[in-house]
Amino acid sequence: MSVASREKAASSAAAPAPRTGLSEGKKQERKLGWLLCAPAAIVMVAVTAYPIIYSIWLSLQRYDLKFPDDREFVGLANYATVLSNNYWWTAFGVTMLITVISVSVELVLGMGLALIMHRTIIGRGLVRTSALIPYGIVTVVAAFSWRYAWTPGTGYLANLFSPEGAPLTERASALAIIIFAEIWKTTPFMALLLMAGLALVPDDLLKAASMDGASWWQRFTKVMLPVMKPAILVALLFRTLDAFRIFDNIYVLSAGANETSSVSMIAYNNLMRGLNLGIGSTMSVLIFLTVAIIAFVFVKLFGTAAPGSSDVDGRR
């Protein structure tokens, strides 16, 4: 800790333009920047803050549309109910599992795909386009085709892999299929972000490394990965947040049956099907908090570790 802060202090002292001594022009420029983005920021706050505050307010009430006369303020009772409930924690575990597995598999596959797309010389456009097709298909449509494929009788995959069972009705296989559909769908997105990162790696650097006798693996781990780190972190952050909110694949494939609900799915069920605004909003708020924590962890812990985004450079 102290070593790091001393280093930071040393580096900021060495910087040519310390933060306190901004020139007049710089100050004006920054002010203009704030003015220019103010309208967008205000609109954003208006459309996001209101629903967030409203759901926090709802989460503090017993508010069930079925019993309109029983509406009352209950403080944090809904949080106690949800946080002590098994369904919630099962859904939370399922969501975490899907997030961790799908994002890590996607990272590996996406990296492979990005390298291939980056390297192809013949039919580059065709290769890139065909790799992107899964991402271009609407998730719900793709999910329906997976569902039919895995339904016994009509589905080719179900008949092939488990002619005697119904994979979508058993927890383990249903989860595997959901994760598979998720990976199939979003690996191209990961690949796209990583390909942008690959473009950051200067060819000279790679050439120099190979002149020094670095093997392909060494070039990959010692040159490409460090340079790509910001791109990788952005890709991971986007995908983690996205995967954590998974809804459509589950909705279509298993509808959350047999303990395959994600947190979004369970919040939907309580709000839209159960008409229980209190409990449903409590879940929404909890999902919001979790997403905020994930984003915070990524940005704080990994964000500053990325080259090119240290305090001093970032401010300039």
Binding site: R62, D64, L65, K66, F67, P68, D70, T81, V82, N85, Y87, W88, T90, A91, T151, P152, G153, E164, G165, A166, L168, T169, E170, A255, G256, A257, N258, E259, S261, I266, N269, N270, M272, R273, G274, L275, N276, G278, I279
Partner: protein
Amino acid sequence: MAINDRHPQRRTLRARALAAGAATVLMAPMAACGSDDGGVPVLNFYNSPVENMQSVVDRCNQEAAGKYKISYQVLPRQADDQRVQMVRRLAAKDDSMDILGMDVTWTQEFASADWIREITGDLKQEVESETLEPAVASAQYNDKLYAAPNNTNVQLLWYRKDLVPTPPKTWDEMIKMSQQLKGEGKPYQVMTMGAQYEGLVVLYNSLVASAGGNVVDQDGKKAVMDEGAVKGLETLKTFATAGVTSPSFSNAVEDDVRRAFQGGGGAFQLNWPFVWASMVQEAPGLAKNVGWARYPAIDANTPSKTTIGGSEQAVSAYSKHPDLAFEAIRCLRGPESQLYLAVNSGQAPSIEAVYNDPSMNEAYPMKDVLLEELKTSAPRPRTPAYQNLSTVVSAELSPPASIQPQQTADSLRKSIQDAIDSKGVLP
């Protein structure tokens, strides 16, 4: 791109066609609104997709002679999706819904939420005097009538006469027969709905009612789960693990079961009467060999009790034309409409007199068994929280093979109580 540039004329033509197309699309909704003109109030009738319902609507519009015009708005196919769409609109006080075609299980909830209007006057008299009693009971909340049953329903046992000469009377008997057929290498499956949804709750409710048990008390305020309810769990477990169900049992809904049976793999099918009309049309060869019988019982000496289904019509609390809507319902659910839908769409009438019509004999050959079952049918737990209760029950019972009777009963008792107190978390 390059080709287009060489033919600038073609490009303008295409652009013009596109613009015209866009204009048509944009104007279409306005044209739809325009149908309000001429002073004829439009009554939007939201209902599940029912074959030939449009003909009923057309006839009622003709009878109305310009007093109102009913417009049939088709909801999604699955009951859950239908309810979600309706509920979402009602919660937003959408005044474009007038007549609501509802599943029997929604009435208590919608009435408790003040979303539908109480039925009084002529229509009430009509409904209460001519409709089968269990159907009327399902349309009441706190002893007031909130909906008009337009059809009713119970499941029957459909069996292959060429495989089984006499239909089984009890679940045990049916399972034994099926196992024997399996041993002989013949079609043997017992097909019914076991997916994690309302259909599974209906199956369970029929078992509980047949065993003389209760899930909740009379007022719908307290979870009971008595001996009969545990017996129901035991039977369901036995059935699911006896090796007589289809592999997709725990994922099957009504239509899957109907199609699978028509495909010829099953010896028994427990399903609603709608399967008969489809079977006659789509698999006439098989239909010749299919018979029907009363739903199997738990105990050989106690007749089975089957869960009552069906749909009802109510008027939205936010309708702009409530009086006209009630009038329209009189036509939509009247004897003539019910007879038409019974003959053409396989919907069991809720008006007893309709069963006496001669044209029922041909289209509804199973009507005697049906009426007999209907008159003794069992309601589902009567509480505004029924949907939540149903979701929790279907989750705990799914997959049925994993039920541990006593243990499942205990955890159900707690979850059901929570659902009733709106403290419950839905899975």
